[in-house]
């Protein structure tokens, strides 16, 4: 039994919006990073769903790429997190606002 494409895309859209809301609402950098992961995986799900619908391998290849980028992003993000914590003694993203115009 195959899942209809609309369901997959709807789920991906809902996941993306949840992740975006997390990024906007959360002040803790760790949670922001996690929300970004959710957004990335929502994109991945959309690729997989559409790839399955057309019976093409492109969607799976894109998902592999997103997976790798997500891993790299987490590494960089955690490094930045450490730096932010060292400089501001907090992991509240609103503290790091010295680029205010």
């Amino acid at each position: 039994m195959s899942i209809p494409m609309e369901h997959g895309l709807l789920l991906a859209g809902i996941l993306f919006c949840i992740g975006l809301t997390g990024v906007i609402v959360r002040r803790n950098i760790i949670f922001i990073l996690m929300s970004i992961e959710v957004m990335l995986n929502a994109c991945g799900l959309a690729f997989i769903t559409v790839g399955a619908r057309w019976g093409a391998a492109d969607g799976q290849i894109m998902f592999m790429l997103i997976l790798t980028i997500a891993a790299a992003e987490v590494a960089v993000g955690l490094g930045l997190l450490l730096q932010v914590h060292r400089r501001f003694h907090s992991i509240d993203i609103d503290q790091a606002s010295s680029l205010r115009g």
Partner: protein
Amino acid sequence: MTDLLWLIPLLPLVSFTVLFITGGRLPKIWVAALGVGSIGVSALMVGVILAQWNSVPVTQTLFSWINVGGFNPKISFYLDGLSLTMLSVITGVGFLIHVYSSLFMEDEADCSRFFAYMNLFVSAMLVLVLADNLLLLYLGWEGVGLCSYLLVGFWYDDPANGLAARKAFVVTRIGDTAMALGLFLLFLHLGTLDIQPMLAEAQVVWPDGGTLATIAALLLLGGAVGKSAQLPLQTWLPDAMAGPTPVSALIHAATMVTAGVYLIARTHELFLLSDVAMMTVAMVGLLTSLVAAFSALNQTDIKRILAYSTISQIGYMFLALGVGAFASAIFHLMTHAFFKALLFLAAGAVVYSLHHEHNIFKMGGLRKKLPVAFWSFIIGGAALAALPPTSGFFSKDAILLAAYEVDPWLWAGGLLGALLTAIYSFRLVFTVFFGEVNTEPSEPAGRRMSIPLMVLGFLALVGGAIHVPVDQVFPVPTEVEHDSLIAIITPLVPLLGVLIAYLIFLRRSVDLSSVLDSTVGKAVRQFFFSHWAMDWLYHYVFVVPYTFIARINRNDIVDMVYEGVANLSTILHYCVSFTQTGQLRWYVATMGLGLILILAIALGVL
């Protein structure tokens, strides 16, 4: 020798550069040697060229100056009889004046600066008369204007001198602007500024004159009027007497102020195309000579009398140009350079011995004390008044007779001017050198000042015998048998003037004090003393409205547009920088909103 023509203007320029760069660190004897020597060598070279002259014009092209789209003026010199005459006057009289200055300016701390400017002036003047195209001529034209400014304001410690220099510069600039417009017009319609091809082209393009030829000639006349201190731009010359006396002799009597005469003589083919232009030149000359002569009658400052007489004599040259007697104009230019330089230098010698006293009524009885200055003034005054057999007689006589041929009224006006000239020049001579001694003079000037006076005195006396080599340059005037009555009256009028001056100022047998001291007489005298109130008029007609507008426009109306642009950018800058909160979450939210907006537009929802 003509191969080395380019050296003649270059030598004074080199000397200027050396004096300018060393800036007064050279010993004074070197400064004088360099300043006088460079002009001396140039004068010598001109003398050799003059001796070998065979009336064949020489063109010497040095290099291309500008080359843009068919506009190709060159640094190129053109030597014919006219420019050779000018060369001789500039280097010859210039050399004598430099010799004189070497003593006159000896005590001056800024002697080096003085000679530097004088050399630069001579160089620019030589470029002016040698120029093969009008653009190079214009370069020399502006160069002499600059030097005039620098030298009038030479004693810059006194603000009055600076003001006089500025006035000279600004007033001549009005004429220069007209001349520049004339050059544009000529280039636009004739396609070249090289003088000889341009004049030939003018006769082809405007065969029977017409409006454009008249306008071009009048614009050139505007430049000439400014530089030569003619109506209505003559007010700067009397004030220019603020400069040292050798400057007045060289720049404001012998050479620079005659540049306008040279310009018109140089482009006379253009002026001949238009009767209106020729008549304007003649009228300007006649009116100026009369206006200035009336003013000269009432002055008390020895140099101002000479300044007004210069304006008046250049008026005669313009009159000669206007009636087509170009050779007579150049002849009068040369004799005027001799006798007016002589008068100025002699006046300088008087002033020098009287500790800078300029008022002629505080002088008197200097005949025995300063014999060289006295005889210089007698010769110079006689030549200025055109008494036979001095040089001034021959040149002015020729001008007046030529004027008679065109219009007897021009002759009559010129004759009235000649009468006034005789009266005011001998009023000066009688007041300064005869009568009682009012101020005791110190030692008379030394040899370096008296020898140039003697040489110039000799030239002013016998200069009438010199034949100016301009026969090939100008159309030959038709020989006319003059009415014998006219030919007799013309030379007699100056003698009458001298007699009147003798009776009034020396014998005092004619007492005019009751007339002169009446209310009307005083008012008239004040009117002439102030040079027909022209300075007053110009002050209220031009200067006051100009400063008024300048004051209104202090904040620059045109600038407001640009300030508005700047203010708008600043406001926009604050709007945009307001969005830069530094809050990451705010950026994300706005990006998301923006994305939604773009998607909505792309999908056609909005």
